[in-house]
Symmetry: C2
Subunit: 517 residues, 2 copies
């Protein structure tokens, strides 16, 4: 089959008004029927109606799956377990990690706060040697002018609250159904050669992520309380989470398939509803459901879908709650150190072409093949040290135009792009520059197009940029033992090219699926 650019000359097929109307109304119904939903934003429905907690609308989704090169998809999957282990090993290497984090501590309160949590627990002694990672490695297709073949470049590696596994597999199901029904007469889409017999590849994100949490639950062992208590997994979430159905897809699987009790808890409720008994040196974390105060549970695994951004720590009480969890016997997904391993600075250090080789430190000695394979997924990244290459590229408008400037934050929305970089840097104190990372922009296919249904029912179409995430889970011990290391499931997010940022919940981009070519 042809390359990406020629595919997009005819893809997606143009829709008549009746075809667009059919697809939009079918998707509006399908998403509600199948929980491919979000709580509506208050920009669309009144705050009063939203506050009742009953309304839902479709997650933003593309009408068509997006073409994606099979070799790149296979490669992204093939390196995931290596990436899982790399970030587990970085999290275990407190000295190396600490040295890099030290560079950020005086300029980044958030990083500093996290490190303080680690320090405090270290003083008391960690009581849990196991850590769980539910990771997502995000990529874009890079079409460099010199090369015929598109290559795979990592945008970022997420070590906390990797989202959209739950909804993503439903988008695959949606597009598969549209491509397959009615049986023998596929008329939902206009015909296109790319559709001939193709459906999106299997997407086992829910199964994989849930199995990771179940593995941690199992590895925790029996209750450390006396008398012993029933065990559970705890999802720690943000208040008023609009993306709740993504999370519920995992908790439902854990409850119904793995038969493990799961509870949800807002960050603000942690200190009220959980306790750590200091008289018990194992420090089990006890959760007392307010609706069943006589049936306390012992928490084996804390899964964070919160606490990943500075805004999740509104007061010292929130930092106290994070410390409270961290010092307990529960397995954390992630631990503070594992969260810190995902900050952009680490990715920059690994990918900086002008810096000493750090990557090999974490790979089996002599395995240059694996190192090379990972390196091929790196886009060049730089720090902004004085007299360094990064500073030079960032301050020159001509070279800045090919770069993006990223803070340490997860979740998007904070990046500075292209020619805005020099001006932005001059607007902040030079002492803060070291908290930023400069990354060469990946050049995705220019002509990619798609059509999306927004959560407010509007249908928009135009040029897009796609980002593929691969999910992986790993459970490791501080002594280096790996108890579980799996790859499985993926996420395709597609954003309108006019917007420079990701983050589906923020309304900039849509959930998508892929057709391999």
């Amino acid at each position: 089959m042809e390359g990406a650019e020629s595919i997009y000359a005819t893809y997606p097929p143009r829709l008549t008004a009746a075809q667009e109307q059919f697809l939009a109304s079918t998707i509006k119904n399908w998403t509600i029927q199948n929980g491919l939903t979000v709580r509506p934003p208050t920009t669309f429905v009144s705050q009063e109606a939203v506050s009742k907690g009953v309304l839902a609308t479709n997650a933003p989704v593309t009408l068509f799956p997006s073409p994606f090169p099979k070799t790149s998809f296979d490669e992204a999957r093939a390196v995931q377990k290596t990436y899982n282990k790399l970030y587990a090993d970085i999290s275990r290497d407190e000295n190396w990690l600490g040295e890099i984090i030290q560079e950020l501590i005086d300029v980044d309160d958030f990083i500093s706060g996290l490190w303080k949590v680690h320090d405090a627990v270290k003083k008391q002694g960690y009581v849990q040697s196991l850590s769980l990672g539910l990771f997502r490695s995000d990529y874009m297709i890079h079409t460099s002018s010199g090369s015929q073949n598109p290559s795979l470049k990592q945008v970022e590696f997420n070590t906390i609250s990797s989202s959209f596994g739950g909804l993503s597999s439903r988008v695959s199901a949606l597009h598969s159904e549209l491509l397959s029904f009615p049986s023998g007469h596929q008329i939902s889409y206009p015909p296109h050669p790319l559709f001939d017999g193709r459906v999106p590849p299997e997407n086992a994100a829910v199964e994989t992520l849930s199995a990771g949490l179940a593995a941690a639950h199992g590895a925790y062992g029996s209750s450390k309380s006396s008398p012993s208590l029933p065990l559970c997994i705890l999802f720690v979430v943000q208040e008023g989470e609009r993306n709740i159905f993504d999370q519920l897809a995992l908790s439902t699987r854990i409850s119904n398939f793995h038969n493990i009790p799961v509870f949800r808890l807002n960050t603000t409720e942690i200190l009220d509803l959980t306790s750590v008994t200091d008289s018990n040196s194992s420090r089990p974390l006890i959760y007392t459901p307010p609706h069943a105060p006589n049936t306390p549970f012992e928490v084996t695994t804390v899964y964070l879908r919160s606490f990943y951004a500075p805004t999740d720590y509104k007061s010292e009480r929130d930092w106290a709650a994070r410390l409270h969890l961290e010092r307990s016997a529960a397995i954390k997904c992630p631990s503070v150190l594992n969260q810190l391993s995902g900050c952009k600075k680490i990715q920059q250090v690994l990918a900086d072409p002008n810096r000493q080789d750090h990557l090999s430190r974490f790979l089996p000695q002599g395995d240059s093949d694996t190192a090379e394979r990972l390196r091929r997924t790196f886009a060049p990244q730089y720090d902004l040290a004085a007299n360094g290459r990064g500073r030079e590229l960032a301050l020159n408008p001509e070279t800045a135009a090919f770069h993006v400037l990223k803070p340490q934050r997860e979740g998007g929305g904070n990046n500075i792009y292209k020619t805005a970089i020099p001006e932005f840097l001059r607007s902040i104190p030079e002492s803060d520059w070291k908290s930023w990372v400069l990354m060469e922009l990946i050049q995705p296919p220019e002509e990619a197009r798609n059509v999306a249904l927004r959560s407010d029912g509007e249908v928009i179409s135009g040029h897009v940029i796609g980002e593929l995430g691969i999910f992986g889970t790993i459970l490791w011990s501080s002594n280096g033992e790996i108890l579980h290391n799996e790859e499985g499931g993926w996420l395709m997010r597609t954003k309108a090219k006019e917007s420079d940022e990701g983050g589906v919940a923020a309304g900039f981009s849509s959930l998508d699926s892929i057709i391999l070519y």
Copy 2:
């Protein structure tokens, strides 16, 4: 186990604020995740937001399943196939049916309009000998003062657009999950003896109703068009249907499990998008999807989720559309005659204790057991003929207090209750009285209580009345041959006692499930 009254002395268990909050928020999430949803009413969300067609909210549901006597549930299921055949046979007996309908024609424009459709098709000759019925027989538990045992009394028998099969089975799943999870520590509800190991009985409504439609599709045979066309089932629906997810549960099953193409069509689109080729004496009904105008389908089965109320016929064009469907080769679910067999007058004639025995006419000769079994489910019903028992009971406020006055309409909302009956009758011309039926009120358990979550998120609790519907499907030929006759699936609706009417979509009542005792 004890009788209904003593059960309700302790049922449902009282909820603390935290317990109610847990159940309400769990159900708010579960319903969206599992499509137990309706489109929101404009009383709750602005017309503008509703018009985008993307929002959904939970269907009104009870927090607890309702206790129901096992013997009555078994009996309701046991008579369903006999009821299926009874109404099929009534629909085939044009003379008998016509005689009764004649009594209504000059006082009821709607009944008269339906009969005219039948007359017009009869003149041209029917081209389809098969008819499909998707029925629901509705019952209440009757607790007469003299008897210890509760008995089962039929409220009505529905022959068109029998709804809530799709959502009802999900309510069973919801209550089962609340009763079963977390595994080994059932803490969703406060403990109650009725819960010990019990979950709602299996509810195969979706499977049963879909299998009925699939049976008709299969019995239609091959395409009658030349050249032959692909075959499909057509759902004819109301514009702006809020209860769409109930319908989609059936069409999804038909499409994904039975592999049969299904399309939805508003009544207003019938004449634009379907055609009957008169040059073909078989008169196949052709549907041309607007999104695939080059791929017309031949309709094997027309499933009406519209055309059941006078408000569905806004102009002569709607009557023309109904005639257009009726004269075609498609199997109708229901045919006009089958729809007419469901009018209240028929049920009154069968159940009138002061009238000649009509029931035996439709049952196997000498099978007095079956007749007796059906009769036990009848509440006494009367017409209002001059000097008749019905008129006497209706005009006397003392006896009227034990009765309900019903028009021929489906769907509730038009009944006159108790002491309001004499005054109402005097307010309309006596010549119109014959379009009304007087029915003895069923006396459900006085103390029944439940708690419900409304679609706007409000939680209400109080005394309730429950109504159990049993679903059945039958496919028959005009020559009396029965090709398919099945019973399966049920609906529990629970309404606040303060309201006298049913109709969940109207907001008066909630979907419920049952625990057998």
